[in-house]
């Protein structure tokens, strides 16, 4: 598929989506929202893809909504429903791990995008900025759903309202980022991390993804039932058989993602 605002490529089981409007700090346009959604669906269907990385080209990760397209006539609800929600729903439905490789500033909805991914990798000096409050808006694109689940309510409230920028190092300390990689070895470190994920039992990862977040607001008994079903599915996977076999034979398992 031909993309204008992103670059999509697949290598070693990893599909990388590079937000590619560097002159605008990779700010979202309607086209970019749509292209990310298409890329997510394409990667979901592609058996060769077992992990996705979202990153930015140039200095920034993503500066959020391109304010060029926003004026006093904008209906913000329509904006979200039509542009952002399909992208966020596709991200939630994606049955493979998605890594935000936060190479530079993630601001506004760009921060929301990073929060909606399954893992965040950061450079020490990058900044997460919830810029919304500065222009009298609320953090959107799933931000107020994801953030308290990731860092707890009190910290999420601070970040959402007081909006002090969070550096990569601070994000790691908050539990928001999985790893901090130095700028000099960034590309190799991101590849190594994502290729390792791509070699894991993808079906089992997708089942954790499917139920763990929802588990944070489900009654215990319901989650236990969902867990039983998820484990039944994992138990039926070839990767489970391979894992058991490799354990018996005292060798490294070769997972195929099914």
């Amino acid at each position: 598929m031909d993309f204008q605002t992103i670059v999509y490529d697949v290598n070693q089981g990893v599909a990388t989506v590079t937000l590619n409007r560097p002159s605008a700090y990779n700010a979202f346009t309607e086209e970019m929202n749509q292209e990310i959604t298409q890329a997510l669906k394409q990667a979901s269907r592609d058996d060769d893809v077992r992990c996705m990385v979202i990153t930015g080209s140039g200095k920034a990760f993503c500066a959020g909504q391109d304010l060029q397209g926003v004026d006093e006539n904008t209906n913000h609800a329509t904006f979200l429903r039509e542009r952002y929600h399909p992208m966020l729903k596709a991200l939630k439905a994606m049955p493979k791990p998605v890594v935000a490789a936060v190479n530079g500033t993630a601001a506004g909805a760009g921060m929301s995008l990073a929060l909606a991914c399954d893992f965040r990798l950061v450079k020490p000096g990058v900044k997460f900025v919830s810029a919304f409050m500065n222009i009298g808006l609320i953090p959107d694109s799933g931000f107020i759903y994801q953030l308290p689940r990731l860092v707890g309510y009190a910290k999420a409230m601070e970040i959402a309202v007081l909006g002090k920028p969070i550096t990569g190092t601070e994000a790691y300390e908050l539990g928001l980022a999985t790893e901090v990689f130095e700028a000099e070895t960034w590309d190799e470190s991101v590849s190594k991390f994502s290729e390792k994920l791509a070699g894991m039992p993808t079906k089992a990862i997708s089942l954790v993804k499917r139920y763990m977040m929802d588990g944070m607001h489900l009654p215990y008994d319901e989650l236990l039932e969902k867990e039983a079903q998820a484990q039944r599915l994992a138990g039926l996977s070839s990767d489970h058989q391979e894992g058991m076999q490799a354990f018996k034979e005292k060798r490294q398992p070769q997972f195929v993602g099914k």
């Binding site: 499917r210 969902k226 079903q229 998820a230 039944r232 599915l233």
Partner: protein, 257 residues
Amino acid sequence: MSKQFIETFVEDSVGFIQLNRPDVMNALNRKMVDEIVEQLEAYDRDDSISVIILKGNEKAFAAGADIEEMMDDSPLTLELADPFAVWDRMTLIKKPVIAAVNGLALGGGFELVLHSDLIVAGESAKFGFPEVKLGVMPGAGGTQLLSKAIGKRKALEFIWLGESMSADQALQLGAINRVVADELVMEETIRLANSLAEQAPISLRLIKEAVNVADEVPLMEGMKLERKNFYLAFDSQDQKEGMQAFTEKRPPSFKGV
């Protein structure tokens, strides 16, 4: 009799009806509905069957009715063909009917689901009545059965807007019984069917009849029917066995007589 649009098979005491027009997402045509109803009645008469499961395929239970078939209909051709009358026979089936829903159950497909006693759906199943978008409305019981299931206001909202509801929404509204992982819809439906198959069959049918009149008749009429059915259960050997087993603290073995 050979079936053109459905497949049927039996596992243990469970009779399956699989809708089988995969190239059109199992859209229901008149012949298909006739076949479904005939098979439901055949299973209902078959002593070796205790529960019936209606299913589609992974993508769709049934994504509506065959539009081309009715496009050129007039009020009079509809009156003469009376295509919905055969649906009434579904309401007379005495054995438990479970719908197992993966994917879309729209229009006639949703009506077929709502004619079932219990409904199990996959997490990404969708239910809805899009008829309004074609300038018509549900015709095989949709307005009545959905209103009874979820109440007038929510029913109007869904049928007016033609918007589909997710499996979780349908569960919350009380329109369906269980939501399970998509991949496990059949396994979980069979587990439910097998639990039902272990119950006393006479009890199951007497209970179904009593529950079905609950929102049809005045309370005292319903109470009377319940009482008569309760008394009737005492004519069964299963009642003797059930109560005997209870006093002997052992699991009962029901025979359906």
